[in-house]
């Protein structure tokens, strides 16, 4: 069995597609016909088969191509992966977490053999077979965080916990929704969220911080976030905004289906044992509008969410230039029928 890894691109000719099976498991983030911030955090426990929650660290058909895209981003801009000096121990914690989760969930693709601190890691999809000493940086080609996150889908923020706050002191960020690790590294929870509109006034971040600082080992939690991206581009970084920003002006009624993507972030939150740090894996899932509307419920609901979104949020998410075009395109799939509650397709 195993996963059938696709060969595709997230830049230039944008050959990214979802297979029909992948569309069915897409983590549609709206449980009702509207959207507003909430501290929508729930326990991150394994979910049903053929969902992105089946395993706590999801590996899907885009894995190999996403890792190639990440390597290209890092070659062009090494500042996308940084770790302040006191975060090396947390990097080892993260390496342990990801290797164990991958090897347990996908034994046909990954294996880990441990004999004390002598570890043997095999990643078959990427052709990696390494022996190293756990805790000894000199035995890996990169620092521990960079080594394992070059082999893991999604961005990773590693947060030191001090003085009742969380500090973004390490991370690898190549598939982000328009924020800069290089700029935000070293900031606390309120500072790096500072540009987000409305939520501060609603007390969202105070409540979220209280919850996150109390997350215990072995009891991870998760939440969704979402935005939209023109073309299936993973690297929508502010660093390259002057190169991709112009994409937002290219949306027409004829190309919405292929060009416009809903971008869902599945964020999970884990306590790391040795460092007492937290890690936020931020996993990005893309789906084309043509793919999304294959589920009538998702089409109706997303039309209503996008149509009724407060302007501040649309502006913050960068949707303003093309929102109306997409809402009109989606309206052809919305007959006004009621939708069932919950996330899944009907």
């Amino acid at each position: 069995m195993g996963i059938n890894f696709r060969k595709e691109t997230f830049r230039d000719d944008f050959s990214f597609r979802n297979s029909p099976e992948q569309i069915r498991r897409f983590p549609f983030p709206f449980h009702e016909d509207g959207y507003m911030y909430a501290v929508n955090i729930e326990p991150h426990t394994p979910g049903p088969k053929n969902t992105v929650f089946e395993h706590l660290i999801d590996v899907d058909e885009h894995y190999v191509s996403e890792m190639e895209d990440r390597a290209q981003v890092l070659a062009e801009d090494p500042l996308r992966c940084q770790s302040l000096p006191h975060m090396t121990l947390a990097g080892w914690d993260l390496l342990e977490l990801l290797m164990i989760q991958k090897a347990e969930s996908y034994p046909e693709h990954f294996s880990l053999t441990r004999d004390g601190d002598k570890w043997h890691w095999v990643n078959r999809p990427l052709g990696i077979d390494d022996h190293f000493t756990f805790g000894d940086v000199s035995t890996l080609p990169y620092g521990p965080m960079e080594y394992i996150t070059r082999q893991s889908q999604g961005d990773f923020c590693v947060l030191d916990q001090r003085d009742g706050n969380l500090w973004m002191d390490a991370g690898i960020v190549t598939t982000q929704a328009d924020w800069s690790l290089d700029f935000d590294i070293g900031m606390n929870f309120f500072e790096w969220h500072a540009p987000v509109p409305l939520a501060h006034e609603m007390g969202i971040f105070n409540r979220a911080l209280k919850f996150l600082t109390n997350i215990q080992q072995g009891q991870p939690a998760r939440r969704f976030n979402w935005t939209m991206t023109i073309n299936p581009r993973l690297d929508t970084s502010p660093e390259n905004y002057h190169k991709w920003g112009v994409d937002r002006t290219t949306v027409t009624p004829d190309n919405v289906g292929q060009k416009v993507h809903l971008r869902v972030e599945l964020q999970s939150f884990w306590r790391l044992p040795r460092s007492n740090a937290l890690v936020f894996p931020i996993r990005c899932y893309l789906i084309k509008m043509d793919e999304l509307v294959t589920s009538p419920k998702w089409a109706r609901r997303f039309h209503r969410v996008l149509r009724d979104l407060p302007n501040e949020l649309a502006e913050y998410k960068g949707l303003t230039r093309y929102r109306q075009t997409v809402v009109e395109w989606l309206s052809q799939y919305d007959d006004g029928a009621p939708t069932s509650s919950g996330f899944g397709p009907d």
Binding site: D163, F190, T249
Partner: protein, 199 residues
């Protein structure tokens, strides 16, 4: 002094004497007046364990005599912030716990001195700051990573790559800089008029 803004925008206070064994002041231009105001409230003998690093710039020369009259254990007058920084770093490298740090003047000076203190192991939250004088900003261009000093306009032009940048209130203590993001990425033909707003 500075309008309400987002939470990453630094908030400056008013210098006040802290318990401690040694006191290190770093100020530029009108920042001297903040030290002089604080001195009025300081206990007797406070400056006997103080070290003042002062960069008068174009507008601060007339404060020098008044600062000297505080009779700090050490007083240094430097021609520029850049020239004073090696001295500051050396002072921090040999300092002991019990040192308190006070920064006053322009945002650029406060940011650079705080950056040096943080590199020496000092937590930003325990540093006293007071903003006086110019509101000119240090800007990091998020695209090319170059720092442009003394930015007074919105938008501003990156002095390294030439992109026209929206100057945000989002601020990085680690970089001692505000963030600049290309303002016309979605339509490069739009060239907004620059207005002088950070004076």
């Amino acid at each position: 002094m500075t309008a309400n803004s987002i939470l990453s925008r630094p908030v400056y206070g008013t210098l006040s004497p802290q318990p401690g064994r040694n006191h290190l002041f770093v100020a530029d231009a009108e920042g001297a007046a903040a030290i002089l105001d604080m001195a009025k409230a300081a206990p007797k003998g406070f400056f006997a364990d103080a070290h003042i690093i002062f960069v008068p710039g174009d507008t601060g020369a007339h404060y020098v005599e008044a600062l000297k009259s505080l009779q700090a254990a050490r007083f240094y007058e430097g021609p520029s912030t850049a020239a004073a920084l090696p001295r500051l770093r050396q002072t921090l490298a040999t300092a002991h716990m019990g040192l308190r740090i006070y920064l006053a003047g322009t945002e650029g000076l406060i940011g650079l001195a705080m950056q040096a203190a943080m590199e020496a192991g000092f937590d930003h939250a325990s540093i006293q700051t007071e903003h006086r004088g110019s509101l000119a900003r240090r800007i990091q261009c998020v695209h090319c990573k170059g720092i442009t000093e003394n930015v007074t306009t919105q938008p501003a032009t990156c002095s390294h790559c030439g992109l026209v940048l929206l100057v945000r209130d989002h601020y990085s203590r680690r970089l001692a800089a505000f963030q600049g993001v290309c303002i016309n990425a979605e339509d490069p033909t739009e060239i907004p008029q620059a207005e002088e707003i950070f004076r």
